[in-house]
Symmetry: C2
Subunit: 105 residues, 2 copies
């Protein structure tokens, strides 16, 4: 059992995205990505079984998917996707997300 404080990982990289691994086990991996305004987490996918969730904990932006699909995202928005489905994020303001990947990759 461990406690993590997300206000302690509120660090931004002016060049784009800061990524922090919060937890990694055989069951799931949890990361915090902090994107500066305008930063892009490019659309990607992996040919693996599993799913991920992306929860916006601060700021606003867009979830990106295949075929130019763009979904508005703000604090409290969550995307759930197969790992094999193309997914990405664009930050409209400084933006923080928590990503949970199960099983971990």
């Amino acid at each position: 059992m461990k406690k993590i404080e997300l206000d302690e990982t509120r660090e931004f990289n002016p060049l784009g995205m800061k990524s922090i691994v919060l937890h990694d086990s055989e069951h799931f991996k949890i990361l915090n990505f902090n994107l500066v305004k305008g930063a892009l987490f490019p659309i990607h996918s992996h040919k693996l079984d599993g799913q991920l969730s992306i929860l916006v904990i601060e700021g606003e932006g867009e979830f990106l998917a295949d075929d130019d699909v763009v979904l508005p995202a703000k604090t409290g928005s969550m995307l759930v996707s197969d790992i094999s489905e193309p997914h990405g994020v664009r930050a409209i303001s400084d933006m923080r997300i928590v990503v949970t990947i199960a099983p971990p990759i």
Copy 2:
């Protein structure tokens, strides 16, 4: 792929805890629990392999563990625990948490 808006599940039950399943798959289960001020999510555990995360998305309270351990919890606090470890939550204010369980139970 699906998008969930947590501001759409911001419902409280004056008698205690409101629980909403946000996602359930073979990979993980994601729930939103909304606790009114003073509500208790009693300490419990399951003799199963797997882990869970509890992320506070609003309000403040306490994470509860075995042996009377009490950990302060506020928006942005996350507890990661084995499913088999005793864990619970007490709400000091109205409080919202997102719980991710992998594999799902």
